[in-house]
């Protein structure tokens, strides 16, 4: 089974802190994604990566950056956390685009910024 893990289930940070969210997948997937999930808004794509050291902006990249130094690991960075970044963050991975390929999700990190 594909396994996608995220470094923390719950995280509390203070405004202005630099925050790192880590995601690791064990199925040698090329594609990795970061979403944020908010009630009434569904999942919105922050950044994604098709390969090591490659990244592309999603729909809401402002205030975030990413890093992918190894194929299995995709990190989301909040350079200076703000209260409006309080949310559930989901990581996902998938095979290279083959049309109907599904995305496999991690358990999520619920981040609270105070």
């Amino acid at each position: 089974d594909v396994k996608v893990t995220q470094s923390s289930r719950y995280l509390v940070k203070r405004t202005g802190e630099k925050v790192f969210l880590e995601c690791v997948q064990d199925m040698d997937h090329e594609n990795m994604f970061w979403y944020r999930q908010d009630p009434g808004l569904g999942l919105r794509l922050i950044y994604f990566s098709y390969d090591v050291k490659m990244k592309e902006k999603g729909d809401i990249p402002e205030g975030y950056s990413v890093s992918r130094e190894k194929k299995e690991r995709f990190s989301l960075i909040l350079e200076s956390a703000s209260t409006n970044q309080t949310s559930m963050y989901l990581c996902a991975s998938s095979l290279p685009w083959t049309g109907e390929d599904e995305q496999y999700f991690g358990p999520g990190t619920r981040l609270t910024v105070t």
Binding site: Y35, G42, G106, G108
Partner: protein
């Protein structure tokens, strides 16, 4: 830009009954894929069912089936013989043929199953 709309924030169903979750989408593309994902409470999101737009036949997976109406841009999910384990947040998602692996998600529908 493509949009996906789930107009039912919450739905409920009695155990063993059938429920239908609605999803509409907006696109000018002719080739695309549609998905329903399930997010159980405190558990990871998983794929329930997928549909290729070029296929006229509706996809089915055991108790889960879809009603895909391409002209109406509608993609509803029917759950038959509902079980307590079906209680979850359900998300409809769209992927354009030419967009690589990017998914666009709807707002989600919270399904409650009553015993």
């Amino acid at each position: 830009a493509q949009t996906v709309t789930q107009s039912q924030p919450e739905m409920s169903v009695q155990e063993a009954e059938t429920v239908t979750l609605s999803c509409t989408y907006d696109t000018s593309e002719s080739d695309y894929y549609l998905f329903w994902y399930k997010q159980p409470p405190s558990r990871q999101m998983i794929l329930v069912i997928r549909q290729e737009a070029y296929k006229q036949q509706n996809a089915t997976e055991n108790r889960f089936s879809v009603n895909f109406q391409k002209a109406a841009k509608s993609f509803s999910l029917k759950i038959s013989d509902s079980q307590l384990g079906d209680a979850a947040m359900y998300f409809c998602a769209y992927k354009q043929e030419t967009s690589g692996s990017r998914l666009t998600f709807g707002e989600g529908t919270q399904l409650t199953v009553n015993p």
